[in-house]
């Protein structure tokens, strides 16, 4: 089958991560002839989502192959539950049906075997991210019409860790006025300050913040007379910052948050159904619809560039003993042969991540919540920690469970960096699951570190002409960086061309070629050329 693979393309994209997939779609959309490959049997690369079985394979593969530990490393998986459900438990379940039906069903006792048998119901993200409702990815999805391939869910609440407990953060004006945690005077002060943040314009020299360039956001908030609780909400939860956050950065982050309010739900954020790993596939589909050729399971062995006539470069790739040629090669950092990467690795701070599967939400609510929790640093050395909790309604896990993602900038290693935070909101003891406590029980965890694709120098650089290396995932909450990097690469490959113009709806496509209306126009010769080539 693979032998049918055509060999000459204008653009070859290797790797199906977010950046690569956006570039592939953009090139194909304006008529470039695109081949898109991936060495593995699934889409997404470092941005993939896995079901539980796929995740187990991924962990094993990475842990057994040092070559794959450039981007993701220190993977450590742990169970907090039994291998099998104890027999007596099953009996109890049977008895319950005959008992008072109004009584609340006892909490399910999960075993590792349950995870294995329901593995398909999990969609676990290696790179979980949210979308700001008016952020660049949402705007791109809408303007390009790729949004038709994806579904989303609104984040229902933003939480923070305040006075040693979880606190909902008032997001909208209504929330602010409804909350009792904030006095009337504070509300006025807050509104005034938020208004000036929304009015902030970088270009305007004489703005409210012109004297705050070299000061921290916290200093600004304090100067504005905000009370400690309000400073906490604005600095840690809304701006996602720390005490050291520069004022203008805080203002920008706050503005982004505020500008995305009121579009979809009660918070400024969206979560993709089935996880972030769906999004690269949406871009790939558009690429395919416009003629892009797809081939997974196709590792590449060698990349060479040569100058052909008139100084034009041509890139050749060896893959499964076949030579593929193109004018431009776009390659994900995880697929990239070492010799193509710039010799000195960019100095960047890596990311510490963790994934937990729990038997309940961190803060019960009426409807299934979808939460963003922002922890301020618990100690001086720590960074702020971002937590995303997603439930069964997002297609992430079976009923009764939640998947919780932790992300922070690495200080030591993922486990040391994140465990203290996990212990604040989960019961990590592995004790009896039926006992109801104020914290959900952690059933399974995975800690890992990842290179930060947002670090300095990890842009679209590459040693060779005609070759563009896409960075891996960054630590940001949204996909801003991936979108801007993809656009940069596209502009270099296709200067002057529009980046992902709106794709027509299927109904708008007019057929120009010789179209026959059912049987009326039958001609002898139709039959002859109607045969698809067969082997």
């Amino acid at each position: 089958m693979d032998d049918d693979l055509p060999t000459d393309f204008q653009v070859i994209v290797v790797g199906t991560g977010m950046v690569e997939s956006i570039v592939a779609a953009a090139c194909s959309r304006i008529g470039k002839n695109v081949l898109h490959l991936d060495s593995s049997d699934h889409y997404g690369g470092l941005w993939a989502s896995y079901n539980f079985d796929g995740l187990q394979k991924f962990i094993k593969e990475v842990n057994s192959d040092p070559k794959r530990q450039q981007q993701v490393y220190n993977l450590s998986e742990k169970w907090y539950i039994e291998k099998e459900t104890p027999q007596e438990e099953k009996k109890e379940e049977g008895q319950d049906k005959t008992e008072d039906s109004k009584a609340e069903p006892p909490k399910k006792v999960w075993s590792q075997a349950n995870f294995t048998s329901e593995y398909r119901k999990f969609n676990i993200d290696m790179t979980p991210k949210l979308l700001f409702s008016r952020g660049p990815l949402v705007e791109l999805l809408i303007s390009s019409n790729i949004a038709r391939y994806a579904e989303f869910r609104c984040v229902t609440r933003v939480l923070t860790w305040l006075n040693d407990r979880l606190m909902p953060v008032p997001c909208s004006r209504a929330d602010v006025f409804a909350t009792e945690a904030v006095s009337i005077v504070e509300k006025r002060m807050l509104m005034k300050m938020l208004t000036s943040i929304v009015g902030y314009n970088e270009e305007e020299m004489n703005n409210e913040f012109k004297d705050w360039n070299d000061k921290t956001f916290k200093e600004y908030l304090t100067h504005k007379g905000l009370t400690p609780n309000l400073i906490h909400y604005v600095l840690y939860a809304i701006a996602g910052g720390t005490d050291k956050m520069p004022c203008l950065e805080g203002v920008k982050e706050c503005k982004k948050f505020l500008m995305s309010l009121g579009r979809y739900g009660n918070t400024p954020f969206l979560w993709p159904m089935y996880g972030s790993g769906e999004l690269p596939q949406c871009f790939c589909r558009l690429c395919a619809v416009f003629g892009g050729v797809y081939c997974l399971n196709r590792p590449i062995d060698k990349v060479e560039t040569k100058t052909v006539d008139e100084g034009k470069t041509m890139v050749t790739i060896e893959s499964k003993s076949k030579t593929l040629n193109c004018d431009h090669l776009v390659i994900g950092i995880n697929e990239c042969p070492k010799e193509l990467l710039s010799p000195e690795p960019a100095e960047s701070c890596d990311i510490s991540k963790a994934i937990f599967i729990t038997n309940g939400t961190i803060l019960p609510s009426e409807k299934e919540p979808l939460s963003l929790l922002r922890f301020p640093p618990l100690t001086e050395e720590d960074n702020a920690v971002t937590v995303l909790e997603v439930g069964p309604a997002t297609g992430s896990c079976p009923k009764g469970l939640f998947v919780v993602y932790f992300i922070t900038n690495k200080v030591k290693d993922a486990e040391s960096d994140l465990m203290p935070y996990a212990e604040k909101i989960f019961d990590m003891s592995g004790g009896d699951q039926t006992v109801t406590s104020d914290k959900p029980k952690c059933l399974w965890s995975l800690f890992y570190n990842a290179a930060d694709g947002g670090g300095a120098g990890s842009g679209a650089a590459s040693g060779a002409d005609g070759v563009f290396v896409c960075a891996g995932p960054d630590s940001g909450l949204d996909f801003d960086r991936a979108v801007s990097q993809a656009e940069e690469i596209f502009k270099q490959i296709c200067p002057g061309e529009e980046f992902l113009p709106r794709a027509p709806d299927p109904e708008e496509i007019v057929f120009e070629d010789d179209v026959t209306h059912g049987p009326e126009f039958r001609r002898e010769d139709d039959d002859a050329d109607g045969d698809a080539p067969k082997e």
Binding site: Y43, R120, I142, L261, M273, E278, R285, G518, R522
Partner: protein, 208 residues
């Protein structure tokens, strides 16, 4: 229960490259057939309303967009499929042999709630051609052995049985639903559209 509620069905068409999937979709929805496969704007998905026992059913039919050619359909393609059309070419025995693996692949990737009774339909396409290589009997036997999957012999080119096949799919999906309500595993999902500032207004506007 004679609910006249609108129903939306996601239909996906699978089968080897070249069997006529895109042509069947085009024939059913646009009543058009083209011998030239135009790669510039490939097929995406098309919608068509059909009436089944005086209920309006909107069928949204998703093409593979050519990603099946090198076995590279991603799991996203299969999400939320209500039924699956498996197509082979009656002149190409290999495409008939592939049906089994397409069916398995669908069940793995889409992981429907009730795989035993999931509505499939099999289409033996290109019956207008002379050089037939898979007999109707052989195809029928196979379908019977697979929990009696409905089988149709079609020609996308001459519009033979295409309408009937898709009607049957819609009917079979509806027959499986309970309480006149289609099972929706994940209600209230959000689609992003250009003018959504006026919609989804359960939130407040910007706090300023």
């Amino acid at each position: 229960m004679s609910s006249k509620k609108k129903v939306l069905l996601k239909v996906i068409i699978l089968g080897d490259s070249g069997v006529g999937k895109t042509s069947l979709m085009n024939q059913f929805v646009n009543k058009k057939f083209s011998n030239q496969y135009k790669a510039t704007i490939g097929a995406d998905f098309l919608t068509k309303e059909v009436i089944v026992d005086d209920r309006i059913v909107t069928m949204q039919i998703w093409d593979t967009a050519g990603q099946e050619r090198f076995q590279s359909l991603g799991v996203a393609f299969y999400r939320g499929a209500d039924c699956c059309v498996l197509v082979f070419d009656v002149t190409a025995p290999n495409t008939f042999k592939s049906l089994e693996s397409w069916k398995d692949e669908f069940l793995i990737q889409a992981s429907p709630r009730d795989p035993e009774n999931f509505p499939f339909v099999i289409l033996g396409n290109k019956v207008d051609l002379e050089n037939r290589a898979v007999s109707a009997k052989r195809a029928q036997q196979w379908c019977q052995s697979k929990n009696d999957i409905p089988y149709f012999e079609t020609s996308a080119k001459e519009a033979v049985n295409v309408e009937l096949a898709f009607q049957t799919i819609a009917r079979n999906v509806l027959a499986q639903e309970t309480d006149a309500e289609l099972y929706n595993e994940f209600p209230d999902q959000l689609k992003l559209t250009a003018n959504d500032n006026g919609r989804n207004r359960d939130g407040d506007n910007c706090a300023c």
